[in-house]
Symmetry: D2
Subunit: 133 residues, 4 copies
């Protein structure tokens, strides 16, 4: 089932495709996604755009929270930006903080190639009670 | 000075260019940005990606918080997703909650064409004490 | 029904009683609560404790979100601290951002007697689908 | 110096005293605080008040973030409530996510006696550049 869910996200999430996100691992309540940063992902200060970092974390969050095959919709997210960089390959790791019938919480951290932490994201989903795949 | 700041963001923010964001108003502590949603901005559930909504709010936040021409870096943001839609023109409005010497806070709301609220974003910046333009 | 809900909170919320919170207004999706700050509400820096400000906002949030008489439980809250003060009477106002069947969002602002803004709180509740009173 | 900082919080934070918080460990960028929940800490639904949980996390956050003896003021905090309980002894653990010259981030988790997670708090401080003790 995890490979079906991975395939669902790879095939259907067009925004993730636009931004070049690649799922490198998916497990129950867990996901890892990486991306090669390009010039078009930078902001006016020549560092990775906060929206790009959030999008990477949000995608990783969506995958991890949907691994139970119970359609889960983000209702809230909070992001702290720790360090600004201008390029390279970065990756996000999502882990489950608390599973639940109606709501569940996840934490996602983003790192650069040297394992410096770039951002910390926590978010809550609402479980719709219908299958994803 | 506001027109210089507007020009700075239009010219230099490559991620905003990639996503098609258009600044429609800029005032002291205030900004309005709109965008035409395309298929490539949708997620696997065929609604606008949370990362796209966050990016729109974050860009509007960056513009409003930099209107004092004191380089301001986002340190934290929180977003609540209220309603999921699949297309059309949407816009974000940023207003200042609290100005400050070192830190300042802003609220950004995103709406669809019928003025339905889609998301609420609050964020805090750190003021670097250097000029933007 | 609003007076029953007001009475429920006044009678049953023991923590609000301990801290001296007084409900001064309750309407559909709206509440106003005030409190006289005492020395025992201060932190080590001699200003109002962040936990005290959060508690005031959280109580106002609970009242406003339960005015539909649909038991509503906080799942997430975010607070930004704008200004530190050492005493006086302060008050919080909660307003509804988005009502919903399963989840709903509110914004609460805290002010001092001169209407200076002290803190901004946004929060999301889960609606349990059972009556409060 | 850590024992001086511990003493400072124990002696000067009156709100922590009112609520019965006890510092059980303090290290560089780390703190653990526990409390015996009483009836006066409950809300109208007979569970621990969200404001009480936040206050416990916020106090633990203040201690951990001030262990560098650089006065640190909370500018933002986000809390997710995972599980509601009605009493017993609970504790909070703060760990450093990212240290920094001007801003720094911490994560605080609250647990009951059986190590069930009750809440997750993330927060950011601004470093004032003056000594605490």
């Amino acid at each position: 089932m995890l490979s079906k869910i991975k395939f669902f996200f790879e095939k259907k999430d067009r925004f993730a495709k636009l931004l070049g996100f690649k799922i490198v691992d998916i497990q129950n309540g867990y996901a890892k996604v990486e991306v090669q940063v390009k010039d078009e992902h930078l902001n006016g200060a020549d560092v990775i755009h906060g929206g790009f970092l959030f999008s990477l974390a949000d995608y990783t969050f969506a995958i991890a929270s949907n691994t139970k095959n119970n359609l889960s919709i983000a209702i809230n997210a909070n992001i702290m930006f720790h360090r600004a960089i201008s390029g390279g390959k970065i990756y996000a790791i999502a882990k489950e903080i608390k599973d639940g019938k109606n709501v569940a919480s996840y934490e996602i951290n983003i790192y650069d190639e040297k394992k410096n932490i770039l951002a910390t994201f926590v978010g809550t989903v609402f479980r719709k009670g219908v299958k994803l795949v």
